[in-house]
């Protein structure tokens, strides 16, 4: 029914940047009391649409309507007065101020012209309780986990706006339990009649919480539909515009012969970081690391690479004892490491794609034997092609690339050093479906070429698909090693959860 009244509606939105059409006559209708997922690969136009709905951008065509009446949004503050609130992936609050101040920033209750702190904290307590948070409103926000901060941000957005809530990848840095908690809050808000827009890369989450879905591709509206009439494959097919075979969750067949022992970590650990662990790694195998955020997965990767020095245990490479006290030691032995936080520890934002690709190889060669420009172009071009890096030019700054392409660049950086062993920490987090597939394909290829890999990932289906062995981390300790038919999501979840059940019992 074309005349349905939406809480928030976009009609025929057009947005043009230079000569690039970011949004091409896109319609989007949001009903009160629904959770509406907005999907699309990176660059499909999701963020542009959101920015127009929140007043951060002005559309070049079309109009935005609230409750059927056209509205004009010059800035995010105006969006707020129309009842539209937004929460971004990176929490946009002040970590060094109290929870209550963050909730009331900009509209603090006053008494005789001064901030009425007591009233503010009393009201904060009430608000937080509605979101299931029993925390002290006068304590510093930064002391709490990202999940709590995220909920505070949602509470703030809802209290300020109260009609439409836009969640832009809110779950990207949350673990499983935290996501579940967030979903309870979303369902609760839905029951209260709020319209919720939910943007994510995780399809499972879309099906878990959303009622309808709008799919964008290359700036065009592809489909808006109720989710109960769609399968997972339908959604992926619409997002990619082509058929992708999603391989079932079966482990790598056991029949493949295992290569020689490459690495042996024995009682390797670091105080207050990772309990001593034993791990033998063979050529041609992928060891998947499963565990919740904060389980010590990243810490284990860092001491394996020497990013943090181990203070106990020993490591031997091909049978010879050695020390890996810093990354340069590891790199000399043919290690490579793609860190979890791509932006903070991976990319050199202002440097070119080319320089980002060759930098580790150059570091290995030393400062004196510089690769000249032609050699750099040749190497960067080779990997740009084989990894399908989508960049207008190899000389453009890497910060202009999408997350998926940045990840491919960092992977290329290590492949250029001709490594024997790669550690990948969440290589597919927050990247689009196409790049995701490319990276999984590369992991499989490298394993078959005889490299040893350690891959940390929260996506169990994915870990199961490419791992020859899985280790499970819990509370900074390696608690299980799974082989053969035990490599399946059910067993892994059990291994991760075990401890909690014991405690409950």
């Amino acid at each position: 029914m074309p005349d349905e009244q939406y809480a928030l509606e976009a009609r025929g939105i057009v947005k043009i940047f230079g000569n690039h059409v970011a949004l091409d006559a896109v319609d989007f209708g949001l009903r009160a009391g629904e959770v509406h997922a907005l999907l699309g690969e990176n660059g499909a136009g999701k963020s542009t649409l959101i920015k127009i709905l929140t007043g951060a951008y002005q559309p070049d065509g079309g109009q935005v309507l609230a409750d059927g009446a056209p509205i004009h949004l010059d800035n995010p503050q105006q969006a707020q007065t129309h009842g539209i609130g937004t929460v971004y992936q990176e929490v946009n609050l002040l970590p060094n101020r109290s929870v209550a101040e963050n909730l009331f920033l900009g509209h603090q209750p006053t008494r005789f012209g001064l901030v009425d702190r007591r009233k503010m904290e009393r009201e904060s307590r009430g608000i937080l309780r509605r979101y299931g948070l029993e925390i002290d409103p006068s304590s510093e926000l930064g002391a709490y986990s990202v999940a709590v901060q995220q909920i505070v941000a949602i509470a703030r957005a809802v209290e300020l706006s109260g009609k439409v809530l836009i969640l832009d990848e809110p779950t990207a840095s949350l673990d499983r339990n935290e996501v579940e908690r967030l979903f309870e809050i979303i369902r609760d808000l839905k029951a209260r009649g709020l319209a919720v827009v939910f943007i994510t890369h995780f399809l499972d989450q879309v099906f878990a919480v959303a009622d309808r879905v709008t799919i964008l591709r290359n700036g065009k509206l592809i489909e808006t539909r109720a989710l109960d009439a769609m399968s997972r494959t339908d959604v992926v097919r619409l997002m990619l515009g082509k058929d992708v075979a999603f391989s079932g969750a079966t482990g790598v067949e056991d029949a493949r012969p295992m290569g020689d022992v490459l690495l042996d970590y024995s009682q390797y650990g670091r105080k207050r970081s990772v309990h001593p662990f034993n791990l033998t790694i063979h050529k041609g195998e992928v060891i998947g690391v499963a565990g919740l955020l904060g389980s010590g997965r990243t810490e284990m990767a860092r001491i394996m690479f020497g990013a943090d020095a181990a203070d106990e245990g020993e490591v031997s490479i091909a049978g010879t004892r050695t020390t890996i006290a810093r990354p340069t030691d590891a790199i000399r032995h043919g290690f490579g490491f793609c860190p979890e936080d791509r932006k903070a520890e991976g990319i050199f934002g202002d440097l070119s794609v080319r320089e980002n690709i060759i930098i580790a190889l150059q570091g290995k060669l030393g400062w004196f034997s510089a690769l000249n420009r032609d050699e750099q172009m040749e190497i960067a071009g080779r990997f740009g092609e084989s990894m399908d890096i989508r960049a207008a030019s190899l000389d453009m700054p890497i910060k202009l690339l999408s997350g998926g392409n940045q990840q491919k660049v960092i992977l290329s950086r290590w492949l250029a050093t001709d490594p024997a062993f790669l550690i990948l920490d969440e290589p597919t987090r927050g990247i689009d479906v196409g790049a995701h597939a490319e990276i999984v394909r590369t992991i499989n290829r490298l394993r078959d070429e005889g490299l040893a890999l350690v891959v940390i990932s929260s996506e169990l289906d994915e870990v199961v698909a490419y791992s020859t062995r899985i280790v499970v981390m819990r509370d900074r300790e390696m608690v299980a090693e799974l082989n053969g038919e035990n490599i399946n999501p059910g067993v892994i979840v059990q291994a991760i959860a075990n401890h909690r059940d014991e405690e409950l019992a």
């Binding site: 990354p327 340069t328 903070a344 440097l351 320089e355 150059q362 570091g363 060669l365 004196f368 030019s393």
Partner: protein, 332 residues
């Protein structure tokens, strides 16, 4: 190829220098006149090169430091120390090469000290180098015992006032350093590593760059450059003035680097453009001097220039004009 060279010449810094020189010429018609006398060149342009050399040399050291997201506030004080050491030694009867070597060694030691504070102790560069900025001048005063130590050593005086192929010695030294350091950072991978550390030190360490060593190198080089400038200034006035030698020149050097398009947030840098920045500053100083304005105008004009540079580099300006200042064109 020629197109590439031409497009490289058409950068904002060179245009600014030409602009300043043209204004000078309008105010003082004899500005471009150069004469040959006693085996050397004379004229306002030569004066710009000669007077601009110390700041240019400081800028050559400073640009690497700033590219690593640091800053070296101590260079003015290091100049005073180096001058004091050289002067005191020749007065005490040591040969000039020993005095020069000792002064350079003092500069290197100061630079490495700064580098140690920044790289190993992880102190913020502005605070770390502030220590030596304050203490260094005090040390220089202790060395000279509070006097202006004058000398007659011909070698030191030649370094400050002599000429080579008609050009002032100071300018020749600056040019040699410019060529040497540019080759050092661009023909090796040092320049790339410096930029990488400046853009993202955590990522640089994980990519296998020894960022601590690199920081020691750049601060060490900055100290050596400051010592060279200090020797030149001492040779020029035939004495070491611990109170005034190099006073506030660290700010001129930083300004020169910023005019040269290197961001104080680190990253992309260019040694030649920083030197060009130093020449722009000196061309303004000389212009005000020769055109008969009172020298007090100097500070106001300089402030106006800083303001202009800040506006050009501001986010607002980069939104209006999409071309950014650091030039690294791809030739295709």
């Amino acid at each position: 190829m020629t197109r590439r060279i031409l497009s490289r010449l058409a950068n904002p810094q060179l245009l600014a220098l030409v602009g300043v020189l043209l204004i000078n010429w309008l105010l003082f018609p004899n500005f471009f006149r150069i004469t040959w006398q006693d085996g050397r060149l004379f004229g306002s342009l030569i004066d710009v090169l000669n007077r601009g050399a110390p700041v240019a040399i400081l800028a050559i050291g400073m640009v690497g430091v700033i590219a690593t997201k640091g800053v070296d506030l101590s260079v003015g004080a290091v100049m005073a120390m180096a001058g004091a050491v050289a002067a005191t030694l020749v007065v005490a009867g040591y040969p000039a090469p020993v005095a020069v070597a000792a002064a350079l060694a003092v500069g290197l030691a100061c630079g490495l000290w700064n580098g140690f504070l920044v790289a190993v102790l992880d102190i913020q560069p502005i605070v770390a180098t502030l220590v030596l900025m304050v203490a260094g001048r005090g040390i220089a005063q202790l060395i000279t015992e509070g006097f202006i130590v004058t000398f007659t050593d011909p070698v030191l005086i030649f370094i400050g006032t002599g000429s080579f192929l008609g050009f002032p010695m100071a300018a020749v030294i600056a040019l040699a350093l410019l060529v040497l350091v540019t080759l050092l950072v661009r023909k090796t991978a040092l320049g790339l590593f410096i930029e990488a550390v400046g853009v993202n030190r955590a990522a640089a360490s994980l990519a296998g760059i020894r960022s601590r060593m690199l920081l020691l190198y750049v601060y060490g080089l900055s100290g050596v450059c400051a010592a060279i400038a200090g020797i030149i200034v001492a040779g020029d006035i035939r004495g070491a003035d611990a109170n005034n030698a190099g006073l506030w020149l660290e700010l001129d050097a930083i300004l020169a680097v910023v005019i040269g398009g290197t961001s104080l947030l680190g990253g992309r840098f260019s040694v030649p453009l920083a030197v060009l920045g130093a020449l722009i500053i000196q061309a303004m100083n000389t212009g005000i001097l020769v055109s008969g304005f009172p020298p007090e105008f100097n500070l106001i004009v300089k402030a106006a220039l800083i303001f202009l540079v800040l506006i050009i580099q501001s986010p607002l300006a980069s939104r209006i004009m999409p071309t950014r200042m650091p030039v690294r064109e791809t030739s295709k």
